[in-house]
């Protein structure tokens, strides 16, 4: 196997790179919102005294 060949990969154009960054940010925001929703609903369902329960 010849390891001297330079690596060939996909080179993104500026538009493709910008679009991928845009999609990545959108996915991150959506996942963050999902986490927040789960957290808030968990707090609501557990109720206000969850921190003062007997151990």
């Amino acid at each position: 196997m010849n390891d001297d060949r330079p690596e060939q990969g996909i080179k993104l154009t500026e538009q493709q790179s910008r679009a991928r960054r845009n999609r990545s940010i959108a996915i991150a925001l959506a996942l963050g919102a999902f986490v927040v929703v789960i957290f808030l609903v968990t707090m609501v369902k557990l109720g206000g005294n969850v921190l003062t329960r007997p151990m």
Binding site: L12, V37, V41, V44
Partner: protein, 296 residues
């Protein structure tokens, strides 16, 4: 125009393209009607739970829209009205849209089931399945009654909202279902009257394409005559006030007048366009008045 199924180079789709896949204007109407169903329920719902339910319903509606755009990519490319959508435009491949839609569908239903209740989740799942499988895949290309029967999918959100609050269904949301069900034919047939060539080019058997404009105008009037008094049903059944009832009858009368003008129209599509535009306002006003009536 051919539609590529597989991408050979990196995507240029941005978040906005994926949001467009979800048909945001349809989503907003779905969320609004679901909100009214939720608020009408005689059960107090914690605001966080209520907002979560509405978010799941919105995402579920978006999922159905994306799956519709996936399946209809071929006919969307042939219609002027839809040729600018993300898939015909080449920004998103059908496969990407299908994956996006399926992921959102599963997440929205599972989240609604885990965080709100199973019945609402089951109803949301049924709604998505009905819209995608019954309407998009089966009815749309095979019968002029496509939007009549398929309209049930768009009529279910108030029942899902009610189910999110109560865990069941009742006559009140069923009436809202019927209002939207009988609103759908005049709304979409008014549009199809001035888009007949577009639908014919795509091979979709909309009523004007199959039965002609005269029959379509007649049926628009028939459905509107049913819709107008139905809009006042919440008042007649006792769960909305008289102000709502009278206002509903007034705007229902406007719908009937516009439908009569559509019936009488022989050339051009001025009346059809007016009916289409007013039908959107009609539904919004009806549900907004119900919400105001409930909150007062």
């Amino acid at each position: 125009m051919s539609v590529t199924l597989a991408r050979v180079e990196p995507s240029i789709a941005e978040a906005g393209d994926y949001i467009e896949l979800m048909k945001p204007r349809v989503m907003s109407l779905v969320v609004f009607t679901a909100l009214v169903g939720l608020m009408l329920a005689p059960v107090h719902v914690h605001p966080v739970i209520g907002l979560t339910a509405l978010l799941c319903i919105a995402v579920g509606a978006g999922a159905a829209g994306a799956l519709n755009m996936w399946y209809d990519a071929d006919i969307d490319a042939r219609m002027t009205r839809t040729a600018g959508r993300p898939i015909p435009r080449g920004h998103v491949t059908p496969g990407e849209a299908a994956g996006f839609g399926m992921t959102l569908a599963v997440f929205s239903v599972v989240t609604l089931g885990l965080l709100v209740n199973l019945f609402a989740a089951a109803l949301l799942a049924f709604t998505i399945l009905f819209y995608v499988v019954i309407y998009t895949i089966w009815l749309k290309r095979s019968t002029p009654q496509n939007i009549v029967i398929g309209g049930a999918a768009g009529a279910l959100p108030p029942m899902i909202g009610w189910a999110a609050a109560t865990g069941g269904v009742a006559i009140e949301p069923a009436v809202l279902f019927l209002i939207i069900f009988f609103w759908t034919p005049p709304h979409f047939w008014a549009l199809s009257l001035y888009r007949t060539e577009d639908y014919a080019r795509a091979g979709i058997p909309m009523l004007p394409v199959v039965a002609g404009h005269r029959e379509t105008r007649r049926q628009i009037l028939l459905y509107t005559l049913i819709l107008a008094p139905l809009g006042a049903a919440p008042w007649l059944l006792g769960y909305a006030g008289m102000v709502y009832g009278i206002a509903a009858l007034v705007i229902g009368a406007v719908m009937v007048v516009l439908a009569l003008r559509v019936r009488a129209e022989r050339q051009g599509h001025v009346a059809s366009k007016q009916l289409f535009a007013f039908s959107i306002l009609y539904l919004f006003l009806l549900f907004a008045m119900l919400l105001i009536d409930r909150m007062s």
